[in-house]
């Protein structure tokens, strides 16, 4: 006999598979029926899935909103630029790089992994201080961290190029590359959520006092999730850089922070599926609005939304979701196969 519990576990195991299939279908449909701009939108969306799913590993399980994750993307993007750019170019653009980095000319995959690892190491170091604070204080500290990283990056000109952009990153990020990383992030996120640490962290989200009375060391689990979370944001930042080919510190500052938060709120912070669905919903809405801003012709007249309406409408959408569906589109539920699909044939369902 299959117990209820086994059925639940099998159902939960279908979530990452279904989410991966959803993204696969999204890429396949966009490439099959969309134009070039749609293909670019697909890559961009999947990079955001990596970023937001990474973000969710921490924010979703701990219930602590972080404003600092765009900083991990920033660090990741620059680490990948430092390690992959042509040394001749770095000599002129970034004269202050230490010799080891100045001469580095790595392949993009080890560079992306290193980007994630450096972001994770930074999270481990800063999180050790920030995550000892409770809820709202921790959130504000992450915001201060974001501001610090941005200021350092904007002013450390010999190493980061300052506010002027670093150009010439190899543009290797196709929708398929982005899909690979997005699926990797989803797998890692669902493994973490199913782990003992993930459960412990969700318990602290529900009630800190009761969790510590159950022997849970909140700080340790938060730090673990923060570090893992930063890894995928670092990778996401590297992908973003190699997608456009140009990076500058302000590309990883307030607007990215807002976008990541908006996506998580719209989809619902309570589940991994919410994070993925939120990215898809917001990205598709943004794409539609961008096209409307460019204008479309109907008969003899051309209609166009005033420029900037895209940001306003996304912000409005976020407010509407908060008002009418505060738990987000997925309301904390996961996409999973129904019980009768996972029990197998001829098994009773008691």
């Amino acid at each position: 006999m299959i117990t209820q519990h086994r059925i639940r576990r099998r159902m939960a195991a279908t979530t990452p598979v279904l989410l991966a299939l959803l993204l696969l279908a999204f890429v396949a449909l966009t490439l099959a029926f969309g134009d070039r701009a749609a293909g670019r939108m697909a890559s961009e969306t999947l990079i955001r899935v990596t970023l937001v799913v990474g973000f969710w590993i921490f924010a979703g399980n701990s219930g602590v909103i972080s404003f600092g994750h765009a900083a991990f993307a920033c660090v990741g993007a620059y680490v990948s630029a430092w390690t992959t750019l042509n040394p001749a170019m770095k000599a002129t653009l970034l004269p202050g790089l230490p010799p080891a980095l100045a001469e580095a000319h790595w392949h993009v995959l080890p560079a992306a992994l290193t980007a994630g690892l450096v972001a994770a190491a930074l999270a481990l170091g800063t999180g050790a201080a920030i995550l000892r604070l409770s809820g709202i204080a921790a959130s504000i500290a992450t915001f201060a961290f974001l501001a610090m990283v941005n200021t350092i990056w904007a002013n450390w000109t010999p190493v980061t190029g300052g506010t002027s952009s670093v150009v010439g990153l190899a543009r290797y990020v196709t929708p398929w590359v982005a899909l690979g990383w997005a699926v990797a992030a989803i797998l890692a996120a669902s493994l973490y959520a199913a782990s003992a640490s993930g459960l412990a962290l969700r318990a602290t989200r529900e009630d800190e006092v009761a969790a510590s009375a159950s022997g849970i060391d909140q700080y340790r689990h938060r730090l673990l999730a923060y570090t893992l979370s930063a890894f995928f944001c670092g990778v996401g930042g590297a992908l973003a850089g190699h997608f456009i080919g140009v990076i500058n510190p302000d590309g990883f500052y307030l607007s990215l922070t807002f976008l990541m938060l908006a996506m998580l709120v719209v989809g619902g912070i309570g589940s991994l599926s919410g994070a993925v669905v939120g990215v898809l919903a917001v990205s598709l809405a943004v794409e539609a609005l961008v096209r409307l801003e460019k204008g479309f012709t109907l008969g003899a007249t051309t209609f166009a939304l005033p420029p900037g309406s895209q940001e306003i409408i996304i912000a409005l959408a976020m407010i509407l979701v908060l008002v009418f569906r505060p738990a987000g589109l997925m309301a904390g539920r996961e996409i999973m196969l129904p019980a009768r699909w996972v029990t197998g044939r001829g098994t009773s369902q008691n």
Partner: protein, 239 residues
């Protein structure tokens, strides 16, 4: 040797003294009720023992090891578990997840499955609702869950803060029934904060009566109901 020893304990919140010069011991397997009026320091006492509240002074020992100064999570790992006031279950997690949370600190993985079975046998309603969100349980069921959750850390000593709070008398009967049979089954040492001394007398055990942060009486719970000590503690002049 006493299972649990409290020596010269004092707890202060700023200038306010909640507990002063409190000393008592609890024997292994004993059932001790802490009673007294509001503000007597009962919850502060449990908080200090479990590590949730920092003691201003004094020493708390379990099996001769000093607990005072450790955080609540480290004390839980030593085998002292707390069922907090107001139950404080993890409402957004399922009943089963609530139970599994406490097992994260354990190394004896095989025994965890046995304990889960024990919990489900003791509280069949939890088995029926295992996959439901804990927040959807009734008050009495949540109290059972809070007790079962504390048991999952495999404690030797369990502190229970006001298990009867906000529950119908019949449900309270049931909660105490289960609590007592689990105590017998596991050889637990129980320390229970209970406002109602008649309830404590009916369940049976030792009782400490507190007032103004001090112990005013200590003895068999059944004896208290008859004596005038209670009305003295609740209505008499402050000591």
């Amino acid at each position: 040797m006493a299972k649990l020893g409290i020596h010269d304990l004092a707890v202060r919140y700023g200038k306010l003294t909640a507990i002063s010069d409190l000393s008592f011991t609890v024997a292994e397997g004993e059932r001790l009720f802490i009673s007294g009026p509001n503000g007597a320091g009962k919850s502060s006492l449990l908080g200090a023992i479990s590590g949730a509240v920092r003691a201003a002074h004094g020493r708390i020992e379990m099996d001769g090891d000093i607990l005072s100064g450790l955080g609540p999570e480290r004390i839980a790992r030593r085998g002292l578990s707390m069922v907090p006031e107001g139950r404080r279950i993890f409402g957004g997690l399922t009943v089963r997840e609530n139970l599994m949370v406490g097992t994260g600190i354990r190394r004896d993985r095989a025994a965890v499955a046995d304990d889960l079975e024990t919990a489900f046998t003791a509280f069949p309603i939890l088995r029926d609702r295992a996959n439901a969100p804990a927040g959807a349980l009734s008050g009495g069921q949540q109290q059972m869950l809070a007790i079962a959750r504390a048991l999952m850390t495999n404690p030797k000593v369990m502190l229970v803060d006001e298990p009867s709070l906000g529950l119908a008398p019949k449900v309270v009967d049931e909660v105490y029934d289960r609590l007592c049979s689990l105590q017998a089954l596991r050889g637990l040492t129980l320390v229970i904060v209970e406002q109602s001394s008649t309830r404590a007398a009916r369940v049976g055990g030792r009782m400490i009566l507190m007032r103004g942060g001090r112990i005013v009486a200590d003895g068999d719970a059944a004896g208290f109901a008859a004596a005038d000590l209670l009305s003295e503690a609740y209505f008499g002049d402050p000591a």
